[in-house]
């Protein structure tokens, strides 16, 4: 089942094993912008005002990311080592620049395909718009190979043609954009 969600929507979801016990809840999403992948999740203990758990949940140990819970096989899932990542995780607030040199906006969230943990796009606050919470948001697709990230995030210029105004139609835009890149032999 492939469903696109914003990374921020995963925060607070319970981590539940197949025996039906809740083991933790998502504190934050660990993201590798270079590979375009969710690496895993940092965790909080369950319950109101509970503290941080030392353990992390690696993406490989996740059975499914659903709208109601993140499913794992058993409590041992929290003992996996996190795959080492070259690039650090936080892209929020980073500028998005096309390879043609056009500034598109700043990242306000990442869009995750729950089926495989790939980051398929960024939610951005477009240039010239208010960056406040009420500002209009757009969604820009990413190539499936990931993107270069340093001081800015670089996307192909063609991605601009596939910017969506809402998340509902964004999955299709990602597919069409990636088909285009493959058609160009890139």
């Amino acid at each position: 089942m492939s469903v696109l969600v914003r990374g921020s929507e995963l925060v607070g979801l319970p981590v539940v094993d197949l025996a039906g016990d809740d083991l933790a809840e998502v504190r934050d999403v660990l993201f590798d912008p270079g590979a375009g992948l969710v690496l895993g999740f940092t965790l909080n203990k369950r319950g109101f005002l509970s503290g941080r758990l030392k353990q992390v949940l690696a993406r490989e140990a996740v059975l499914a990311v659903g709208p109601a819970a993140i499913m794992v096989a058993d409590p041992a899932a929290l003992d996996h080592e996190l795959a080492p990542s070259g690039s650090g995780g936080d892209v929020l607030g980073d500028r998005v620049l096309t390879d043609a040199g056009v500034d598109i906006g700043t990242v306000t969230d990442v869009v995750v395909d729950t089926a495989d943990g790939r980051v398929v796009g960024y939610e951005i606050a477009p240039v010239g718009e208010s960056t406040g919470r009420k500002g209009r948001r757009s969604y820009i697709p990413l190539p499936d190979a990931g993107t270069a990230s340093g001081e800015t995030l670089i996307v192909p210029a063609a991605a601009v043609d596939y910017i969506s105004a809402d998340l509902a139609g964004f999955g299709e835009a990602v597919d069409r954009f990636r088909d285009l890149l493959r058609g160009d032999g890139t």
């Binding site: 979801l13 197949l18 016990d21 809740d22 499914a64 659903g66 499913m71």
Partner: protein, 148 residues
């Protein structure tokens, strides 16, 4: 036989033909998908547990036992459907989708085997799709499609 109303069942001792107690709650094993036994509303000679193996028959109106030797102590780790809060609580698919609340459990009265789980909207889930009954949720294998 549905288990949500099991607490209405009297327990009749066949040797004396008297109602000795009533069933209170039912324990199931999520792994074997089998009824383990019942807790009793009123203890009999200090025993508050009726194991499935000691039930003579589970009928539509009463459970019967051969004699008062049938009552024992509840084994450790038995999961009570009501006592654990599983009845009425959320059911998650293995894909992390909330598919509704658990309304009832249907068992085969001859063998004690769980046949189906019944969700609040009337959807039934076959017992072989039951993965676990835990402190947070009951987990099933497939995302179920509600009845049209």
């Amino acid at each position: 036989m549905r288990l949500a109303d099991i607490h209405k069942h009297p327990v009749v001792d066949l040797s004396s033909a008297t109602t000795v107690t009533h069933l209170a709650d039912v324990a199931i094993d999520a792994t074997t998908r089998q009824v383990l036994g019942f807790t009793l509303r009123k203890a009999v000679d200090g025993h508050d547990w009726l194991a499935w193996a000691d039930v003579h028959a589970l009928g539509t109106d009463a459970a019967t036992v051969s004699d008062s030797q049938a009552f024992t102590a509840m084994p450790d780790g038995a999961l009570l459907l009501k006592g654990s809060g599983a009845l009425g609580r959320r059911v998650l698919s293995a894909e992390g989708v909330d598919v509704g609340n658990l309304a009832d459990v249907d068992v085969e009265p001859e063998t004690g085997a769980v046949i189906t789980l019944v969700l609040a909207d009337g959807t039934t889930v076959p017992a072989e799709d039951l993965l676990g009954v835990g402190s947070y949720a009951t987990v099933i294998r497939t995302p179920v499609v509600p009845p049209a």
